[in-house]
């Protein structure tokens, strides 16, 4: 699997390269600035991009903007965005096109290699990987008149894990129930959120999007 990596801090970039190589990823390019990233994404056609939000030369959210632009040019291009801080605002922008294949994680998550690599693979496969902190921010406020207010606590729990990008099997394992029970919960969630029957993966993304939109 070919990866384009954008990170301006040498130590972290180096660490990520070694970690990804250790898990049999091929590093197509490891760049440090926004323009380089744009060029690499356009020319190298990677299977997944791992991008730091803040990149030189502007040191603003250049990485995020490059990633969003690249996804516009190539819809569904898998992008995993890393940052020192997570904001619901950015998460929403990443998910807004409804195409899936996006991840948004705190840089701290890199410490846990297994989980991090799992997230990269999930994103590359068109799934999502949202940092638990984004989800937590959302949970801190809920009001009953919104569509998500109709969900039962258990369904919310399932949606929360779904938003992190877990599969039904993984959610079942986490909540110690059968996969069939989870499948029932997810179809209830889709029903309550008015998501029509279509490709299951896409509906999962839309459900997460509805979830993130709550904060507005």
């Amino acid at each position: 699997m070919r990866v384009v990596l954008a990170e301006d801090l040498f130590l972290l970039r180096d660490g990520l390269v070694r970690m990804l190589e250790a898990f049999d990823f091929e590093i197509a390019a490891a760049v440090e600035t926004g323009p380089e990233l744009t060029k690499a994404l356009a020319e190298l056609e990677p299977d997944v991009a791992v991008v730091d939000v803040r990149l030189p030369p502007s040191h603003t959210d250049e990485g995020l903007q490059c990633a969003l632009a690249a996804r516009k040019a190539r819809p569904g291009l898998p992008v995993l965005v890393l940052s020192q801080h997570v904001e619901q605002l950015y998460a929403r922008e990443l998910l807004a096109d409804g195409n899936g294949g996006v991840g948004y994680l705190l840089k701290d998550r890199v410490f846990d290699a297994d989980q991090f690599i799992d997230a990269v693979r999930r994103v590359a496969a068109g799934g999502t990987a949202m940092d638990p902190q984004v989800i937590q921010q959302l949970l801190s406020r809920r009001s009953a008149d919104q569509p998500l207010g109709k969900l039962t606590p258990r369904e919310r729990e399932v949606l929360e894990l779904m938003a992190q990008g877990r599969s039904n099997a993984a959610i079942a394992a986490e909540l110690v129930v059968t996969e069939r029970a989870i499948a029932k919960h997810t179809s209830n969630i889709f029903g309550k959120l008015d998501l029509s029957v279509s490709d299951d993966d896409n509906r999962r993304v839309l459900a997460v999007l509805a979830y993130l939109d709550q904060g507005r």
Binding site: H85, Q88, D108, F111
Partner: protein, 423 residues
């Protein structure tokens, strides 16, 4: 052609000003004088502030026109009202005496007098010149004859029109006057405004007083700025010392222990490694929170609008952020505005008991205007020790102002204004 256009525009403005000076200034002057006279029997107390405010608006309109039409800048001389002006009748009496004590008020009244006389005369020539020229032509076209026949020997300027050749002379004179108007009209209107400036602009002593007030204010806000930045540094130092620094020390100790026991007791070492990693994670979380308190990353990356939106998303209370900014303010202003909003929101959440908050941010006329409104129980005030006075100090450094409207029972509306340009 442009000269003709300019001259005609000046003539139209002159006509408007002539009518305005007569109608508006005379009415306002008479009413004001009567109202001030009636203060003696008490009624005037209620009417005077309203009338004088009207006079100020009238004068401000003329000041604005002077700038827009003739490039004559006339600064406003009025003393600002103190922010803690009371409401109701006591407030009215207070306002009345404050306005009467302001020398600018009396100069306004003098200006009304001058405006209705000399002001009117200067400006009446602008429309009169072209109109008189037309009248000259009308005479020359034959109208002189019936007038003469009716026994009215018409005078056109200094010419007594009694024959066609006289009328032709009148037309010639009219043309000359028209040409004078062509060149003089804009200057006439400008002259009117220059005359107005002598009374509408602040005098030297008024300016000096204003400067003195400004120096006082600057000294005060500078003190506040230095104090608060020192306190801020102290807080950061303490947070680092007790937080991240302590965690790194603990991590270093753990690593030392691990080094010592990794061969003797690998299982225990593994356990300690997990603990060290947890410590590093917590240190990062603390640093992240600290950074957010110094300068929020979204503010650096996206500017005020998105930073406030991101903040709104984090709050436990449903918050709508409506931002209309085309460009970014300077960084220190952005930061001050952000933290002012943040403190206002914190206040709301702590004390108001609201379940809905609205933040509105926009930029008009060189002012960044921010309103934070909630549907809580109200009763907030800018008192000593309240979060609101902290905001006031924060904004003061940038000449920003804070106003709070919070009747008991709510709603509360905190408005802030900071003068700044967007780029």
């Amino acid at each position: 052609m442009t000269r003709v256009r300019a001259s005609l525009i000046a003539a139209a403005r002159g006509l408007y000003l002539a009518v305005a000076t007569l109608a508006g200034s005379i009415t306002l002057f008479v009413l004001s004088v009567v109202s001030i006279a009636l203060i003696v029997i008490g009624v005037g107390v209620f009417t005077t502030p309203t009338l004088l405010t009207g006079v100020r608006k009238w004068a401000d309109l003329r000041r604005a026109q002077a700038g827009a039409w003739s490039g004559v800048q006339i600064p406003t001389p009025y003393r600002p009202f103190p922010p803690d002006l009371r409401r109701g009748i006591t407030g009215l009496v207070e306002r009345n005496s404050l306005m009467l004590k302001d020398p600018a008020t009396w100069r306004d009244l003098q200006w009304l007098l001058v405006d209705m006389t000399a002001g009117c005369v200067t400006v009446i020539f602008a429309p009169a010149l072209p109109l008189y020229m037309l009248y000259g032509y009308v005479l020359a076209l034959g109208v002189w004859e019936p007038i003469y026949d009716a026994g009215g020997g018409e005078w056109y300027g200094f010419i007594h029109v009694t024959s066609q050749s006289d009328a032709n002379m009148a037309a010639l004179l009219g043309t000359a006057l028209g040409v004078v108007g062509l060149f003089a009209n804009p200057s006439l209107v400008r002259g009117h405004f220059l005359l107005a400036r002598t009374l509408l602009a602040p005098t030297t002593s008024m300016r000096e007083r204003e400067l003195a007030r400004r120096v006082d204010r600057l000294t005060e806000t500078r003190h506040d700025a230095v104090d608060s930045s020192a306190a801020e540094l102290r807080r950061i130092e303490r947070d680092l010392h007790d937080g991240a620094q302590a965690r790194l020390v603990a991590m270093g100790m753990d690593l030392g222990t691990i080094e010592a026991m990794i061969e003797k007791n690998p299982a225990k070492a593994k356990e300690m490694i997990a603990k060290a990693r947890q410590n590093s994670g917590e240190a990062l979380t603390e640093l992240r929170d600290l950074v957010r308190g110094i300068h929020p990353p979204v503010l650096a990356e996206r500017g005020l609008g998105d930073a406030v939106k991101a903040l709104a998303l984090r709050l436990p209370v449903e918050t709508d952020a409506d931002v209309e900014l085309f460009g970014r303010a300077e960084e220190p202003v952005e930061s001050a505005a952000y933290f002012a909003v943040s403190e206002a929101l914190t206040n709301t959440i702590k004390h108001a008991g609201a379940d809905r908050v609205w933040v509105d941010i926009h930029h008009t006329d060189g002012m960044l205007r921010i309103a934070v409104t909630d549907n809580g129980k109200g009763g907030a005030s800018i008192g000593a020790g309240s979060g609101l006075s902290g905001i006031e100090r924060r904004l003061g450094t940038f000449d920003g102002v804070l106003a709070v409207s919070s009747p008991a029972g709510g709603p509360t509306m905190v408005t802030m204004e900071i003068p700044c340009e967007l780029s």
